[in-house]
Symmetry: C2
Subunit: 379 residues, 2 copies
Amino acid sequence: MKDNLLLSPGPTKVPREVYDSLGSPIIHHRTPQFQNYLKEAMEGLKEIFQTKNDVFIMASSGTGAMEAAVCNLLSPGDKAITVEGGKFGERWTELCKAYQVEASVIQVTWGTAVQPQQIKEILDADKDIKAVFVTLCETSTGVKTDIQAIGEIVKQTNAVLVVDAVSGLGVDDLQADNWHVDIVCSASHKGLMLPPGLGFISVSPKAFGLIEQSKNPKYYFDLKKAKKTADKTDTPFTPAIALVIALTKSLEIIKKRGLENSFNHFAKLAQAARESAEALGLTLFTDPSCRSNAVTAINVPEGIDGGKFVKTMRDTYGVTMAGGQASLKGKIFRIAHMGCINEQDLIAGISCIETVLKEMGYDFEADKGVKAAQVALQV
Amino acid sequence: MKDNLLLSPGPTKVPREVYDSLGSPIIHHRTPQFQNYLKEAMEGLKEIFQTKNDVFIMASSGTGAMEAAVCNLLSPGDKAITVEGGKFGERWTELCKAYQVEASVIQVTWGTAVQPQQIKEILDADKDIKAVFVTLCETSTGVKTDIQAIGEIVKQTNAVLVVDAVSGLGVDDLQADNWHVDIVCSASHKGLMLPPGLGFISVSPKAFGLIEQSKNPKYYFDLKKAKKTADKTDTPFTPAIALVIALTKSLEIIKKRGLENSFNHFAKLAQAARESAEALGLTLFTDPSCRSNAVTAINVPEGIDGGKFVKTMRDTYGVTMAGGQASLKGKIFRIAHMGCINEQDLIAGISCIETVLKEMGYDFEADKGVKAAQVALQV
């Protein structure tokens, strides 16, 4: 019987306890009962974000949180830096364009990461730059950005550092405060093991300084309003109550495992995915210097139809991985290691890759992938 | 044992089948499997909106859909009409202000409705007005606006008519196409019986004409992007998957009952609520000429602390009604008739009102409220 194994980099698998929590009877949001959940959720998020700053919860996808960063920080004519090394880096540029922010765009070959030095050079040359927008894990390519090094550079300037951590949060280490990250954007449906529908954003005092000067219009995503209501354990607009309550459950699960253990767990899964791909004679898309542990991007071997490959895994075998996006369509496929994906899920996924590659006539030594994963995972 | 009976005007009770559907395993959104749900949801919403126009689904609260209307239709310096007869009418003015739209604000005594003639006079005097923003059911006061009459007026002009139907949709009749409404905004957590987290917006061709000219910034709420992706049964950003799947279930339930039967059902509940309040010697806040069937606003009797009254019902007896907002704080309380609230729920609510009024020393003839409701409901 075909099951539905989600190994896509968002949405990710949702634990049973979180589903159960989603089905709890809805309570009204302007009550002490809901405030208890909201407080627990906001406090728990701070631990995952590794920050003392407020983390605001929005009813939106991760893109909503990203838009909140741009429209709250900047004014038309302001200058910023964006890094385009994939689809989500491009989103920062698009958002800047929508809000008439002049973006200095650093073009990066897909599959490689920006060099922090490139950001330093632009900041040194133009003291008017107000914000640097980067991506922790570029889901479209599997690249991890060196946020710590960029944080060291940006903190010396008046600019704020904004990190899209929609993917990667809770998987790749991101120390918001220690690394001087002013704004971190994230969402519910990746490392946090919830269905999509919540956006999260942490905001530093330095960022609030800039927010005071912003002239761009905003209402639903107004961070000053978010701050004012959060101070009273409230939200400016009706929150996505069921998802917030379920969030407290997923935060509890993550807390029980511990952040450090999570990072180690996903590092092991990612390593196993890489080794098993190579054992099958496949090559990895992402440069070895900057591989995220949240998603492994694998090149589709020559002669195999990448679209059909992913579709067959999903529709015939019930295993959902992601194909490539934009220019990578049909050329790569991607396996996630996030949230509650575990060793057995990964091995089932690798086994499915083997099955479908075999069906499609790819020539390789059977079971080598699964064996490599078993060795790497020590299962 | 204290239960949790939600009689507040949003969020409202969620049917068991919808909860079950919320807990279905998450599937990826860019798959034919999810497209089936999305298509069903978009088609089902058209029936409730009584429109042939597209209805777009957003991961947001209802305010997100309202912001989408303002930022997509208008440019800085454009003129519009808003009606302030309650908290949600004020929201249209605030949104206009945020986007530098000059709003001619019609002030209306809370508890009464705007006269369509007032809108006609402003439109006649100023041909540059591009949009008229009104509220179907003003949840803060229980007032229903005469959308049909306003539609007849606005259709003669170049302006578009935008209706906030976050409350009231599926309860008070709103014939978007027959009544010439260009944009209807709504949300998941009132008449549609879902937890909050989805915003809906229908857009007419006349509205799309104006959208083409708009210069205000937008990204997450960009309706051109929504249209482009909806045409391919997709969403511009990750949708709130679990809520969309659950929406198909609630639409199925509403379809089974039929819209006409729903309107009749809620009219009966509202009438029963009004009669039982009066039987208890209480007075109704809302002018009799414009009472919505979605929510009944009742004046807190002299000598009773309105805040404590609502709090006691909720915390001691597990019955959640809403108090008054803004200037009505402590002065009124509100009972909803929406979604899956039925005769038994209403009677339980009235009984709880009696119990707490008695406890608080209000002098009335015991059980008269429940009896009046029973008669009105013929139960």
